[in-house]
Symmetry: D2
Subunit: 353 residues, 4 copies
């Protein structure tokens, strides 16, 4: 029957499961999308680990694309049946933060992040979209769902990390950690004009992927102090460092690897390690070395999605190699388990429906 | 005799004294200025307290104006006898950092700060200026030396704090601490278009001065949690917070008082409290609330000095009320002692020659 | 009876008249405001002169504030009875241009400008507001309607001219023409940190007002080549020039008065003079002197309105002296006639209800 | 004998010739470079055509690299024998424009452009460099002279065109004319993150090269109104258009092809067509469509050169295919003749020594 659907839910700390649910219905200005492809995110894993508090039974997922299934009254920008991508962050477009351009902070800190946190996520056969005209981005005909789904979070997040990094044309960038967000930041660093990209990760496969995505140099933390080596390689430090892990050690390395006047662009979620993050004052020039720290969460909205998809559509960016594993929605539990344990060199598992 | 001069020197930790020295001579591209007015800076006090290591006998001071006394070969932009102001930071204008626009980081972190740190300071009857064509700024005829000297550090530092704060027109700003740098940041916040400036300080006289310099609201930390009150007053936090003290507590308050997407602009020197600065992660949105931390040191160079002096020359900015005390150079030791102990409501002691 | 209202309408080219109309009704997401204060704009005069083609009978006006009268379904940000200001430009907040931050270009070039052009204007006892949650800005209790109404167009337009002018702190600005928009740009130039503001106008009263609003120097074009004098006064040209008239001559003067690397910020509506605007190539450095030309139309939206009103609420900006004449809505025809002929030193006629 | 040298000189309007000259000598802070590779620029052709007035006998050329031959007193950043590149623009680094970051406007409009205009050019066996520490950029060991020479003007100019174009990540760009500057702008547009680059040129070989350098679509003006086709292809106009020809027609097309809120970045030298450039007001939204026009001349200085060379050194950018022809300095007259007549599909002739 078409009015129930399957989705992957948070059951209790450490446990997920496929559940049956009613297909959601759109209110005024809203839409419901029939999902065709999803990606599992490390944030989902964090959530199930209890880092983010969500009610039991809440559906997981925030990286999904599909086909418009139903629209509420007043929705004018899409028609039923159209292929669409929806950002992980779904702002209302109206609040002060949105009007100021900070869609991810819609209504308050991190408030644009609604899937899973404020309502059911979208790793499900259907999903609900608030403020549909603001958030539904038609997928170009020539772009596959399997690529388009990378615009939802990975590229949007990785690229804002690069955009915030204030890289001068031909400048130098170090990207710390080469999971999917870090790899996207590596792509992004090239995309915004970096002349040298140094990618850091302890896993050889990830360093190899980083090279494939445009890193000029890769460094393994096991080989010795990474920040020191970066300072040496660049004759004084990079222009910009991107933190894509969410750890005190890499945050600190970012500060130490960056030259005076440079920018540290943080993408990592620092909620796992404790209530504080520590700045070593020598690396920070005692607060006067002209270093900047930028932070962000995946920016949402249709307009950005269109531009991200265009980059894939013209072949400028191909995140495809990040899809290391594929599953049907029926195997979502297994996919989630692999993602949790980072088995088998998994980067991003793609779920199809 | 004209070839010796008096200057205020660091003698040993905690002790300063007037000393006799040869008048400096300019090398190629350099100049020597006969001093007419100086200001004592809290940084001088920090230096004498041992926070910055400098050799015994090193002259103090980095806020001075005067008259061109001699110039070395190749100096073309000024003539002997011309009234000039020289920034506390004297970049070479040539290194990578200077070409990138970070004059205060000339040659390396904080490297543009030469007076006292790398050579004799300028609280002396004469002082030496490197890269004279880059650094000597003629003082407008209608501007007094006693005002012009505020461009050397106070306004340049306070204003860059406001410029870095990324205040939207009509936005809200909180300035933490209302010493001379904080007061200058308060002036600066109005100058860059803030609609509401909240000034924080525990000393009533300073809060009064802050009001005189354009603060709309002043807060006394003794009256309860300042950050909380700011969040309440502004309905969610300021757009920008300026740290003008150099303390963990105020840095933390800046983070807590700023809304998602806002900017914390650090001016304070954090060398006094320990090797680290701590970021509370809740106030930082776990590294994802779009908050930015900018840092800087007084930007130098003639071009900026001209613009700062123009602001005083047209009456737009009048830092005069910061001059709470006046001394001849013969009384510099006494002036320094008062500055060290912050006696008698002292903000800035002016030294004349 | 409460369901009809009076408003000032365009009757035929050159003729306006008070007409009776049904009070508008809000659709979903929309609102109707009971007007308390309006300002007549030079654009209204242009429209009646036939420069902009609008249907006969269309209500004029786009600068009005009032009290929320009724709201359509889904409006959540205001309640009936609340005092509100509405920008002259009322974007939907959703289209690509809005998401890109160009609210005035909503849906296409100049598309955010709806009043009079796309629907009835708001010089009427009641007016309709599309996308109410995006566009209705509550007026602070301590701010009068008579001041708040300046945020609708004059300050929003004048200030964007200053914001786009890229004035370095303490830099120099020339503002060409001191009508209400030019005067607002003069206020704006000070507000964004200019060190010297030169205001140009041929009418002595306007030059006097310009001085009152913060101009340091005023120039009368009758006294000889203005651009030349500005170049001389500034030793090479201003950092930024603002065109607030919409004429070839002043546009050209802006280019000639600005130094290499400077910015020309255009606010003037150039529709009156012909199909082209001419750039003199010598003043433009043959297209290589680093000069920039920025253009804009009044940016809309609640968030900006709040910031503009805050500037008046804290006393930072007081456009009050622009209100040279006052009329009841019953005398709107007379007010319009005076505005058309610029009689009696009129700057802005205020209409009350 | 080593103290004379050969160089290509402007003899009279329309005529160039190899001449014998003394090897220049460096003054204080200056250097002399022994040339190893040069490129002939269309500007040289313009100069010989009389567009720029220069004295008879003046050496041509401003795109050269080589080896440091001698240095004057005070030069510290390079040693004799070091391979160096020197930008076409050689600012002093000290004037107001340089301190403001507009090195190409050093000392006044276009004033940083010294070679040929203010002193002998560098298409000669040796050339003189003012302000050596500011301007000499060591060439990375792994980068050939034949590539490094592209940093001198082509990449610096083409890329600033892209940098000034304010392309949002994944945005759309049209580049008008695909000579060497236009091709460099095409490379630059990709480099700054464009998602779609449309290159326009009437010559099939140039369109082919444009594709090789990253254009997604190429258009031939012979096939009909280019601006109209661009508006259609992009559903409303590009975010940014780059003018790389210096003609009224392409400038106008840039305005027409760009959407509201977009940027026109001018690189073309408009000195050949007449004293004015015309803006069609409909394409300009009557001065209110939020369109910006940016202009620039090749930015100079070592720091930028280093970054441009890094982009070639890491293989990110390879301008090599622009070198369509090669000559020894002995054949410079022939090379110049070919460049003047654009024979044989010539893009850039490389001169070796």
């Amino acid at each position: 029957m078409s009015d129930t659907m399957r989705g992957l839910a948070f059951l209790e700390r450490g446990t997920v499961g496929l559940v049956e649910r009613p297909v959601p219905e759109p209110g005024p200005g809203e839409a419901v999308v029939r999902t065709t492809a999803s990606l599992i995110c490390t944030s989902d894993v964090h959530t199930v680990d209890g880092v983010l508090e969500v009610p039991q039974g809440r559906l997981l997922g925030h990286e999904s694309v599909g086909v418009v299934h139903t629209v509420g009254s007043g929705v004018t920008s899409v028609r039923v049946g159209e292929r669409v991508a929806v950002n992980a962050v779904t702002p209302d477009g109206t609040c002060d933060a949105c009007q100021a351009g900070y869609t991810s902070q819609c209504g308050g800190p991190l408030g644009g992040y609604r899937f899973t946190v404020q309502k059911d996520g979208n790793m499900a056969e259907y999903f609900h979209v608030n403020d549909a005209d603001y958030n539904l981005a038609p997928i170009p005909d020539s772009l596959s769902d399997e690529l388009a789904v990378y615009a939802c979070d990975m590229l949007s997040t990785g690229f804002i990390g690069a955009e915030n990094a204030a890289v001068p044309i031909g400048g130098t960038v170090a990207v710390f950690a080469q999971g999917a967000v870090g790899l996207s930041a590596t792509i992004g660093a090239r995309l915004v004009g970096a002349g040298l990209v140094i990618a850091v990760d302890g896993i050889p496969e990830r360093r190899k992927l980083a090279e494939r995505f445009g890193a000029d140099i890769t460094l393994d933390p096991a080989d010795g102090d990474v920040a020191e080596r970066i300072v040496e390689l660049t004759g004084g430090g990079v222009d910009s460092a991107i933190e894509a892990l969410g750890a005190q050690a890499t945050f600190e390395d970012c500060l130490r690897a960056t030259k005076a006047g440079g920018t540290i662009s943080n993408l990592g979620y620092h909620g796992s390690e404790g209530p504080t993050l520590t700045i070593p004052l020598d690396a920070f020039g005692l607060g006067m070395a002209g270093k900047k720290i930028a932070t962000d969460l995946c920016p949402g909205g249709r307009y950005r999605m269109q531009r991200l998809m265009r980059l894939m559509d013209t072949g400028r960016v191909d995140p495809g190699p990040m899809t290391t594993h594929r599953f049907g929605i029926g195997d979502a539990e297994k996919a989630f388990a692999m993602m949790s344990t980072k088995q088998d060199g998994i980067i991003k598992p793609l779920i199809t429906y």
